[in-house]
């Protein structure tokens, strides 16, 4: 009797936790379909009006283009560097391997705010970089550790006797790499790229200090919009972002397993 009451109570509590996690996102989606110009949930009159407004807002459009450019270039630069590093780490038998692994996690461990500020200081002292270059150099640091992680996770499940078998059968090292190793670790690499791209696209902490008046990323233009306006067009643009994120999350879970990305287990 007591056990069943406890179980029921725990079930309700867990349901509450899932609601807590999802309710702000659900509310953003709901608010975006409201016709009136004040935020209210649930909507009194349904409409797609604010999607039109959001897509006509030049700040959002320019921000989206900047974010897209920065995230794409950062991912393209960080991926080969990260894949090479993962291979190096995988092959390494050095006693410094653990230290090197920790070193590669530095961009995750150091808070984004601190990374952004210290990059701002150094780039200002060097006085060379312009808006996009500054943003991209910061965003490479966002993408890189995740590409290393996911590639390494794929490599750790790789059976080394496969390469030995290929070598015995006469494959050249290049053939082994292209035909045996790469196809097996490809899901890991792609998962790292998608994940790094999302984090780069969504980033505010590092970008906050690297944007200037002409190059502003989408999350930052949403943030400054939130500080001064409060109409539902921000809900509409956020809903589009949430939609894109959910689709990529599903893809990642199918391809790689989300838990491995975060917990490393």
């Amino acid at each position: 009797m007591i056990a069943s009451v406890q179980r029921r109570a725990f079930g309700i509590w867990s349901a509450f936790l899932y609601v807590f996690l999802l309710i702000p996102l659900a509310c953003v989606v709901l608010a975006s379909f409201n016709y009136e110009s004040v935020q209210s949930v649930p909507p009194t009159q349904w409409s797609l009006r604010w999607y039109g407004e959001a897509l006509a807002n030049p700040n959002f459009v320019r921000g989206a283009l900047t974010s897209l450019l920065v995230a794409t270039v950062a991912t393209i630069i960080a991926t080969p560097i990260g894949v090479l590093a993962a291979f190096g780490l995988w092959k390494s038998k050095s006693r410094y391997k653990v230290a090197l692994d920790a070193f590669f996690a530095l961009p995750i461990v150091v808070p984004g705010l601190v990374t952004g500020i210290s990059l701002l200081i150094v780039l200002t002292a060097a006085d060379t970089a312009t808006g996009n270059v500054k943003l991209i150099s910061g965003h490479i640091l966002i993408v890189l550790p995740y590409v290393i992680r996911t590639t390494l996770a794929s490599l750790s499940q790789f059976n080394p006797s496969l390469t030995e078998a290929a070598e015995t059968l006469g494959a050249t090292p290049a053939q082994v790499l292209w035909k045996i190793v790469l196809p097996i670790v490809r899901p890991g690499i792609i998962a790292g790229m998608i994940f790094g791209f999302i984090l780069s696209f969504d980033d505010v902490n590092i970008s906050l200090f690297l944007v200037d008046a002409r190059t502003i990323t989408l999350p930052i233009s949403i943030m400054s919009f939130l500080q001064f306006n409060f109409d539902p067009s921000v809900a509409a643009i956020s809903t589009i972002l949430i939609g894109i994120t959910f689709v990529s999350t599903l893809l990642l879970e199918r391809m790689f397993g989300l838990k491995r990305l975060f917990a490393g287990g």
């Binding site: 092959k91 090197l100 150094v122 490479i140 972002l241 879970e253």
Partner: protein, 307 residues
């Protein structure tokens, strides 16, 4: 990192060391680009900033000089205003971490007990908020907690309250937002620890008459300590250094140390003092987290050596 002591000179282990250094040579070349990127992008800027914090304030100037001074730190530690801000930041981060630990532990247990079929869905529900931009999530909480928001309109509709309760732009709003952001980061390491537990153990305890609560607190909790500690470490240091949520949900004058830091860099251009504030922030969160890890390992050792 890439410098390997050339132990190949040792005659006794020549063959093996030779192979190791050859293997390491290849991996040194492979890891080199990433080392350079992280060295130039994180280590060097961080060092530069820490040196800047011991330079005399000079608005708009970032070039280092050879004269060092502690004037920025004296300014910080001699002012009750700045110390108050630091204490408030520690308080908010601790409250966030404690709530996250409580919610995260129960959420992880509930995920652990979910059947394999539903588990993927649960993991998506927990992780997807993590992938949504922090700005969107802050906005979501504005919609939930605002004066015309979900909670107020629900309570007004049900006739429980007569006028909307102000929840936005308070400390409670900041803490709710931070807990929401960091809950997944607490839950997942705990879940990883739980996955290593033999499911027969809690079952055995149950069949010997332990209640669900006893099993949770006396059996599962000690066994997930590694995950819990890594979650606490992560959540505490990230809450200490969070800027966006306090700025958006606590209003402009939220009084967190990160707000002060932002002002120094973007408004008053006193970068030397700003760098000192960052140094204080890093030292405080490293100190508290270090103390926690030290204390846990001491207790674990004591527990292992008992009897």
């Amino acid at each position: 990192m890439t410098v390997y002591p050339l132990g190949a000179a040792l005659p006794k282990r020549q063959r093996t060391t030779g192979r190791i250094s050859r293997a390491f040579g290849a991996s040194a070349i492979l890891t080199m680009p990433a080392c350079i990127v992280i060295g130039a992008g994180v280590v060097l800027p961080l060092t530069y900033m820490l040196i800047l914090s011991i330079q005399a304030p000079d608005p708009g100037e970032v070039v280092l000089t050879t004269s060092f001074t502690a004037v920025n730190f004296v300014k910080f530690f001699s002012s009750s205003f700045y110390l108050g801000v630091l204490l408030k930041t520690i308080w908010v981060a601790s409250a966030t971490t404690a709530l996250c630990a409580l919610l995260g532990f129960t959420l992880a247990i509930s995920m652990w007990r979910t059947s394999a079929r539903w588990r993927g869905l649960c993991v998506i529900a927990v992780i997807s908020p993590l992938l949504v931009s922090i700005v969107t999530r802050a906005f979501g909480w504005m919609v939930v907690l605002g004066d015309n928001g979900l909670i107020n309109s629900l309570l007004l509709h049900l006739g429980i309250i007569k006028a909307p309760i102000h929840m936005m732009f308070t400390n409670v709003a900041i803490i709710i937002g931070l807990v929401h952001v960091f809950l997944p980061l607490m839950t997942l390491p705990i879940l990883t620890s739980l996955d290593r537990i033999d499911r027969n153990i809690p079952e055995a305890a149950g069949s010997l008459g332990a209640s669900a609560l006893t099993i949770g607190v006396k059996i599962l909790l000690p066994m997930v300590t590694p995950g819990l500690v890594s979650g606490i470490t992560m959540v505490f240091s990230l809450s200490m250094s969070s800027y966006i949520l306090p700025a958006l949900m606590g209003g402009a004058d939220s009084g967190m140390i990160t707000t002060l830091i932002y002002q120094q860099f973007v408004v008053t251009f006193n970068w030397q003092f700003g760098a000192a504030l960052v140094a204080v922030l890093l030292a405080t969160s490293l100190g508290i987290v270090g103390l926690l890890i030290f204390e846990t390992s001491r207790r674990t050792n004591k527990w292992m050596a008992r009897r």
